[in-house]
């Protein structure tokens, strides 16, 4: 028996908006969350712009107990906890249950252990002061720290899985939650991902010379997916979370349904045939998108909007080509495509979940968010698709089906197909 999976809750911590209302307002209006980072100049980084959420750390006191808050250090943890709990409450649930919720689990991803927390540990240990580390550092340096905090706060008793798949992490985590529900293993899953780009991660990317470095004087223009003047991506931080539910379970508790997750796929190009540690093999990307469309049971011609990976590197042109081949659509027949990264940068592991929140919001509110900084589309892209496929202002339009994909280091791919909820299936 095939079960339907719906989205009933959303939470987001993004560089251009913390909380769904602010984020929705920002993506409608093309508001950039990219800012100049003065400290990056002192660190001799070539790129000195980043997307950081305007996050009030003390707000976390409303999300975790006073005891947990005392000693909480990891930024990605804070973002993830807030996004996940916001989504949970948004879905009409409460916190403070004394019983374990055996039918509800969590899949939440991240890139790396928090470097700033790890740095404190290293400094203490190297100084011969391991004794002073205390009880709170292991729980914040373990890869499963975010899932441990979220599941503990909500009393989740189904499978609790911490994932990592580079830039495909968020998309993959959502797909895993979907599959558990579809297989009947869980009724409800808290899914998402979180990222905090600290100076250590930023510096390592800067050294790879793949970051945007020519717009330090105009940060809001620095992230330029699909633009001819794109010169690398802008790292961003934040978190996105969704509550996925078995349709019957959601109907049973009279939950508000935002949209349906029709299906998805996740694979790897195997780092063969042009794929490598840092570049996706086109064959893998095309297969991933095709498999997702097949899994969702939709015709490629019914895709109304593509939410691309589109980071503003040389890979953008190849990505558009892969979408054309996977969907069998090009020129004027290609659907509108947008990249949230133009506004918030590339939030690595969090990209897939924040962009999925944006995809669901575009379905709920029937609009296409603008691609900012795309006044000069790359001619290589315009050879494949019509300029009208690249909206630079917000478009109000009927959006029934959205394809959302992300591709990550290690040649891993993930693609989701979201749809407007139709009670008749």
């Amino acid at each position: 028996m095939s079960r339907r999976v719906v989205i009933t809750g959303l939470g987001v911590v993004a560089p251009n908006g913390v909380g769904v209302p602010d984020f929705l307002d920002a993506i409608r209006n093309g508001v950039s969350g990219i800012r100049y980072e003065a400290s990056y100049k002192d660190l001799h980084f070539n790129s000195q712009v980043a997307g950081s959420p305007q996050f009030d750390w003390n707000q976390l006191k409303n999300y975790v107990s006073e005891i947990t808050f005392h000693g909480l250090q990891g930024h990605a943890l804070g973002y993830g906890i807030m996004a996940a709990l916001d989504a949970w409450l948004d879905a009409g649930n409460g916190v403070g249950n004394s019983e374990t919720l055996w039918d509800t689990g969590c899949v939440f991803g991240s890139s790396v252990s928090e470097c700033e927390v790890v740095k404190k540990i290293i400094n203490r240990v190297d100084a011969g002061e391991a004794k002073k580390l205390g009880s709170r550092v292991i729980e914040q340096m373990m890869n499963s720290s975010i899932t441990a905090y979220i599941s503990g706060r909500l009393g989740l008793g189904n499978r609790i899985v911490a994932t990592s798949a580079a830039c495909a992490t968020g998309t993959q985590a959502i797909l895993m939650g979907y599959e558990y529900i579809q297989q009947g293993l869980a009724k409800r899953m808290v899914v998402g991902s979180s990222e905090h780009v600290d100076p250590y991660i930023f510096g390592a990317f800067d050294s790879m010379r793949i970051l945007s470095r020519k717009f330090n004087h105009a940060p809001e223009k620095a992230s330029r997916p699909m633009s001819q003047s794109a010169g690398g991506f802008v790292p961003g931080s934040g978190a996105g979370a969704l509550i996925l539910e078995d349709l019957d379970f959601a109907l049973g508790r009279k939950a508000r349904i935002y949209a349906e997750l029709l299906g998805g796929a996740c694979n790897s190009g195997g780092q063969r045939s042009g794929g490598s540690m840092t570049a996706p093999a086109s064959a893998g990307v095309i297969k991933c998108i095709s498999d997702a469309v097949t899994s969702a049971g939709v015709n490629p011609s019914s895709i109304d909007l593509i939410s691309g990976h589109l980071t503003a590197t040389a890979a953008d042109t190849m990505e558009i080509r892969n979408w054309c081949l996977a969907l069998g659509r090009n020129g004027r027949n290609f659907p509108p495509v947008n990249s949230l990264k133009s506004m918030i940068g590339h939030s690595l592991s969090a990209a897939g979940s924040i962009e999925s929140v944006a995809a669901v919001l575009q379905i709920v509110h029937q609009f296409i968010h603008p691609n900012i900084n795309l006044e000069d589309p790359n001619p290589e892209i315009l050879r494949q698709i019509d300029p009208d496929c690249l909206p630079v202002t917000m478009v109000e339009k009927e959006i029934r089906t959205v394809a959302k994909a992300n591709f990550g280091f290690g040649d891993v791919n993930a693609c989701l197909i979201f749809s407007k909820y139709n009670k008749n299936g």
């Binding site: 107990s65 006073e66 005392h70 205390g134 009880s135």
Partner: protein
């Protein structure tokens, strides 16, 4: 140092680790940190680390293991700052 003074200071050290502020205000030598104040036993090491920093003292692992009540805490601190 007067046990009374240490007790008042200890209340501040314990505060971030217990939600029961009312009980904390009325603790005495016999108050059990885990059973009465519901402090997570893993946090006892944090309390010792905080107390060490506050008084610039060192409480060795063996002494720390004997800390079960508020009275034990005051004893351990009092002994080091004599």
């Amino acid at each position: 140092m007067d046990r009374r003074v240490i007790l008042d200071e200890l209340k501040k050290v314990l505060s971030p680790y217990t939600e029961n502020k009312e009980l904390l205000a009325n603790i005495d030598d016999n108050t059990n940190l885990v059973k009465d104040l519901k402090i997570n036993s893993a946090n006892l090491v944090d309390i010792i680390i905080d107390a060490e920093a506050k008084y610039s003292i060192e409480i060795d692992f063996d002494s720390a293991e004997k800390i079960i009540t508020v009275g034990n805490c005051i004893d351990a601190i009092g002994e080091k700052i004599k």
